[in-house]
């Protein structure tokens, strides 16, 4: 076997491993829960944040700026225009979008009409955050990423209502493996770039960044006086954060370190959620990590069901 053939075979083995769909179930349920929390957490301010008239009225400007980049990115303006033609005002259309997104998230949660629900949720969530770009932050991007992979991945998974009630056939196990690799690779890049950006800041090495993160409004849930009791730990926490993130793409794949690293990263996100009130951010990162690396690292991977189909026979050893 030539070197090129060997490299090709190794690449295909890496990209198309045989996988069960447990990771996909975690991703589907986790993202659906995240969407439901998102919808209900900003329900009362939905119109204030997203209307073009009344409230903050930032939608028009956000959509104009978005159009400078691309006119093809979904936005609430499309739905509002459609609604206007049907005689619905903006307020009514925004309410319908909220309701449709909530329903899509609920269907995704139970796994009924998985694919349609995933595409609908992705479209409506994307339109919402693009029109509300001024009030969007990192967590929204992570939800878009998760929904993007979810709608492309081989749904339904075996724990979904679709699989149990509507008797969908089992999915291609190599394709399940491919999409899990995509999610895993993406997480590695997220942490690596997040880590090296912190590496170059002095504050993360001497603990000052940890102190500032915890006293900075609106993340200042813990009184500074209480934090002072723990100040000796700040440098260690800062350095641990930098190392956890930067080394993630290297150590999460090693059998000997994967478990420790995954638990470390999950602990970091739980701590961020609890200490800084960033519940949505913590939830989506925990979901992404559990889906990407949980099965097989934190618990034994369930056996691939025998009735799974496979097309990628070239990837098999």
């Amino acid at each position: 076997m030539s070197r090129a053939q060997f490299a090709r075979r190794r690449l295909l083995e890496f990209l198309f491993p045989q996988e069960s769909d447990t990771w996909l179930s975690i991703l589907r349920v986790g993202v659906a829960a995240q969407l439901l929390v998102f919808c209900f957490s900003i329900r009362s301010d939905w119109r204030y944040l997203l209307a073009a008239s009344g409230g903050l009225s930032s939608r028009g400007l956000a959509e104009k700026i978005l159009s400078l980049e691309s006119v093809f990115v979904p936005r609430l303006g499309w739905f509002v225009n459609l609604g206007t033609q049907a005689g619905l005002n903006e307020q009514r259309v925004l309410a319908i979008v909220w309701f449709a997104l909530t329903i899509a998230a609920f269907l995704l949660l139970i796994g009924l009409f998985c694919r349609t629900a995933a595409i609908t949720a992705w479209l409506l969530h994307l339109a919402t955050i693009k029109s509300g770009d001024f009030v969007a932050y990192g967590v929204d991007n992570f939800v878009t990423i998760a929904l993007f992979y979810l709608m492309l991945a081989p749904l339904p998974d075996r724990y979904s209502v679709d699989a149990r009630w509507r008797k969908f056939p089992a999915q291609d196990r190599h394709l399940l493996g491919f999409w899990r690799r995509v999610l895993q690779t993406h997480l590695c890049l997220i942490y690596f770039f997040g880590g090296i950006a912190k590496d170059v800041g002095v504050g993360w090495w001497n603990g000052e960044a940890v102190w500032r993160a915890l006293i900075r409004p609106p993340f200042n849930l813990i009184p500074p006086q209480t934090l002072l009791h723990w100040k000796i730990l700040f440098p260690a926490v800062g350095v641990a954060t930098v190392i956890l993130e930067t080394a993630y793409p290297f150590l999460i794949w090693q059998k000997s370190t994967a478990r420790t690293w995954l638990i470390g990263v999950l602990t970091m996100h739980i701590a961020i959620g609890a200490a800084m009130g960033m519940y949505l951010f913590a939830l989506i990162m925990i979901v992404l990590n559990l889906a990407a690396f949980g099965p097989g690292v934190l618990w034994r991977q369930s056996k691939v069901t025998s009735n799974c189909r496979s097309y990628a026979n070239t990837a098999a050893p």
Binding site: Y48, V73, F142, L189, K198, G201, R216
Partner: protein, 200 residues
């Protein structure tokens, strides 16, 4: 092209885009912030950032169709921005305060009001974006939007001064020596309103 080759090609293109976007943002961070590198390198980082934009087909010389197609994909996949959260340093938080002036000479203070912590975090994010933005053309209309929203809650006010400031955070040593957060003035805008008509 077989289905498998299609997936492999898609994988590499997708991750090339993610890595390039993240690299571009990293270079931007290096060129703008106080880092462990000398500020004499800032020009180099700026050039590297521009090179990343060229690789992403996002520079002005790229044909519009190609630029839009790439930008569309980046947005659809949620990969249009990098991952340098809370990095390299943690800045102070921007804060917006309204000074409401009434016809009878009264003045009141108010801040943008939302109903939940989740929405509050989003408004705080927006204030940071406009506070740190160098573009007044972007900042001014957004402050105006906030001010109009505040006026709808206080329709008797005839003039609202919107003051954007920054909360300067103390270091650990400063805090232990009794120095707390302080406010630093950034921008101020004044808007006049017609008094609301009396209710029938």
């Amino acid at each position: 092209m077989s289905r498998q080759k299609f997936y492999v090609a898609g994988y590499f293109i997708h991750f090339f885009l993610i890595a390039t976007v993240a690299t571009r943002e990293f270079f931007w961070v290096l060129s703008q912030s106080r880092t462990i590198f000398s500020s004499s390198l800032n020009q180099t980082w700026r050039k590297a950032e521009e090179a990343s934009s060229v690789a992403l087909l996002q520079d002005p010389h790229t044909p519009s169709g190609l630029r839009q197609a790439t930008a569309t994909y980046l947005h659809l996949a949620g990969i249009e921005s990098g991952y340098g959260f809370f990095a390299p340093n943690i800045t102070g938080q921007c804060k917006l305060v309204f000074e409401l002036h009434y016809p009878d000479g009264r003045t009141e203070s108010a801040v943008p009001a939302v109903s939940s912590d989740a929405s509050g975090l989003r408004v705080a994010t927006l204030l940071d974006k406009i506070g740190w933005s160098k573009y007044d053309a972007l900042r001014e209309p957004i402050i105006k939007m906030f001010t109009q929203a505040a006026w709808r809650e206080h329709r008797d006010a005839t003039m609202i001064r919107a003051v954007l400031g920054m909360v300067v955070l103390p270091t650990i040593d400063e805090y232990e020596n009794g120095i707390g957060s302080s406010n630093e003035f950034l921008y101020s805008y004044e808007y006049k309103f017609e008094p609301a008509a009396p209710k029938p």
